[in-house]
């Protein structure tokens, strides 16, 4: 009874191993291809440079910034960014921060609520850094009693 189950399970493991190996081979071939292409002649370089920019480069840095935005979270790069990433995005996504616009008092009240009810830890000196970051980069925007319709995508109505 035990042996067939063991064999069945190992078979599964081998199957995964084979898939992984196959993947590795493909990746190696691809890497080799790009590597050799990179060492082409100088006149080749100019036109192919354009193509290179569209090939995503492997990037393992979790804190990459592109155009002033912290790519992993979507947060604006500014003083206090890493304190926000570390303390605020462990439990919830940064989208919850980005969507919300509050003044200093209401951000502090929100932090207190999270500490009281949501297991947020004490922030110490970081609290001032985090609140400054939030009110500077995500301040409230006046909308009035009703905003105009915006971002209308116009199309011909058929039917």
């Amino acid at each position: 009874m035990k042996e067939p189950t063991y064999w069945k399970r190992s078979r599964g493991a081998y199957r995964i191993l084979i898939i992984i190996s196959a993947l590795m081979v493909i990746i190696s071939v691809a890497a080799l291809f790009f590597f050799t292409d990179d060492t082409g002649t100088e006149e080749d370089n100019t036109p192919s440079n354009k193509e290179y920019t569209t090939i995503p480069t492997t990037n393992d840095d979790p804190n990459t910034i592109i155009d002033g935005i912290h790519v992993r979270t979507g947060l604006v790069e500014a003083e206090g960014l890493m304190a926000v990433v570390t303390n605020c995005t462990t439990c919830h996504s940064a989208q919850l921060v980005i969507q919300n616009r509050m003044d200093r008092d209401r951000w502090i009240a929100t932090i207190r609520w999270m500490q009281k009810t949501q297991n947020l830890w004490g922030l110490g000196d970081n609290e001032a850094v985090i609140v400054n970051y939030l009110v500077t980069n995500y301040p409230p925007i006046n909308k009035g009693r009703r905003q105009a319709l915006s971002q209308v995508e116009w199309y011909e109505l058929k039917e």
Partner: protein
């Protein structure tokens, strides 16, 4: 990848989110290869049907089988809404049903061992039922029930209200099948001093602290005993999708959808107002007395939201339609009024200066939304907005401007409108 993030004030976000998706998938791939290298050693110890977390598809549209045009507001916890034109069906299909979560969706559902316990101070005899017992012992009912998030429309409040910035699409009217909560509660026995019921479920708190519940709300006993209040196991004729509460969901139509708890395994009959998570503070509560925008309200001056207010949505055409002069504009949509019915429906093409009444159908059952339609003549070329306004059976209508401000931005039932051009 089509992940979309709410782009209220920053168009850049959209592009960034797409870039971010690519980045995340790439890092994920690297992690998977890395993780597998070590996992393989223990491969034989893994259960055969075990799918490592890394292999689970992080694409919410595939994972939840929803339309790729649905708008992701938040991916931890998952919160996703529809756009107005996606709600055109009379019965909301699964793919256009908004997703609202306070915590982490349960990771393992053990159907064979799933049970529902009825307990609490006001139960005569605490009882536990398996899913099979629930389905066989009690009569089955099907109703179309309106579920709207209490915070639907929050994005319009000024000053901005705290929480996911829902626009118009956190509303649905699906067909729910299950047993009456009343039948189950009465089987266990309800003491005379019962005031409220409170649900408990198997979702996880965001902090993954097993001692904390993400949400545990409820309704007064009178709402719990209504014919249409269901312990549902089917949505639109099939098992409820996991993200919407499989295998058992409490469905109490016409009230904030947060009382319709998902993944239910226990219901307590309380001798007081239920005091579970998100029943207190500013959660799903409104200032008992009206306040000025932005004013602070102490907790004790907040009152629990019960029935949702009268509201309507234009689902056809999609905003932005252009049509030639002389052609009539057909519009249609839905209207609802919480515990009440919609009695009248009007539309305006001149910003409320004049209103024209249009027919609205009776609901298919109590607490279902009602359908309206109209053929509109637009007099000359140019830009128009069509505004829709529902009136409930007590003569209360939707406001054209934002209703009373409140700290969490609940109950925005201001008129919905679409933009039209005559060319």
């Amino acid at each position: 990848m089509q992940l979309k993030i709410l782009t209220l004030h920053n168009n850049q976000l959209l592009t960034i989110s797409v870039e971010r998706r690519k980045f995340v998938s790439k890092t994920l791939l690297a992690t998977m290869i890395g993780a597998l290298g070590t996992d393989i050693v223990f491969g034989k110890l893994l259960p055969l049907d075990y799918v490592p977390l890394a292999f689970q598809d992080p694409d919410p549209f595939k994972m939840f089988q929803i339309d790729p045009e649905m708008v992701v507001l938040n991916e931890k916890p998952w919160n996703i809404e529809a756009k107005a034109h996606m709600l055109d069906d009379k019965i909301t299909p699964n793919k256009f049903m908004f997703v609202r979560n306070n915590g982490i969706i349960p990771e393992n559902i053990d159907l064979a061992n799933w049970s529902l316990t009825i307990d609490g101070e006001s139960v005569i005899k605490s009882k536990t039922y398996s899913l099979t017992e629930l389905k066989s012992k009690f009569k089955t009912y099907t109703y179309q029930l309106l579920l709207e998030c209490g915070g639907n429309g929050r994005s319009e409040f000024d000053p901005p209200a705290k929480g996911n910035q829902w626009t118009v699409g956190a509303v649905s009217c699906a067909s729910w099948t299950g047993v009456r909560l009343r039948d189950v509660l009465e089987d266990a026995g309800i003491k005379k001093n019962a005031v409220y019921i409170g649900y408990h479920a198997t979702d996880l708190h965001l902090s993954r602290d097993p001692g904390k519940e993400p949400i545990s709300r409820g309704v007064p006993i009178s709402k719990a005993l209504q014919d249409e209040t269901l312990l549902a196991y089917q949505m639109n004729g099939k098992d409820i999708p996991l993200v919407h509460g499989h295998p058992l969901r409490l469905v109490a139509g016409g009230w904030p959808a947060s009382v319709s708890g998902k993944w239910i395994n226990r219901i307590s009959i309380r001798n007081k107002v239920h005091d579970g998570e998100k029943m207190e503070g500013s959660s799903y509560r409104m200032p008992c007395k009206p306040i000025a925008p932005g004013e602070n309200v102490p907790d004790e001056a907040m009152c629990i939201i019960e029935s949702m207010p009268v509201k309507s949505i234009i689902t056809y055409p999609k905003s932005g339609a252009m049509l030639p002069k002389g052609k009539k504009l057909k519009i249609r949509g839905h209207a609802w009024a919480g515990e009440l019915q919609v009695a009248e429906m009007h539309y305006s093409i001149d910003y409320g200066a004049t209103w024209t009444s249009c027919p609205v159908e009776k609901p298919v059952n109590r607490l279902a939304w009602q359908h309206f339609s109209a053929d509109i003549s637009l007099p000359q070329e140019g830009y128009y907005e069509v505004w829709a306004k529902a009136t409930d059976s007590r003569g209360v209508s939707q406001p054209m401007l934002l209703p009373g401000w409140n700290p969490k931005g609940y109950l925005n039932n201001a008129c919905h409108r679409i933009a039209i051009k005559i060319t």
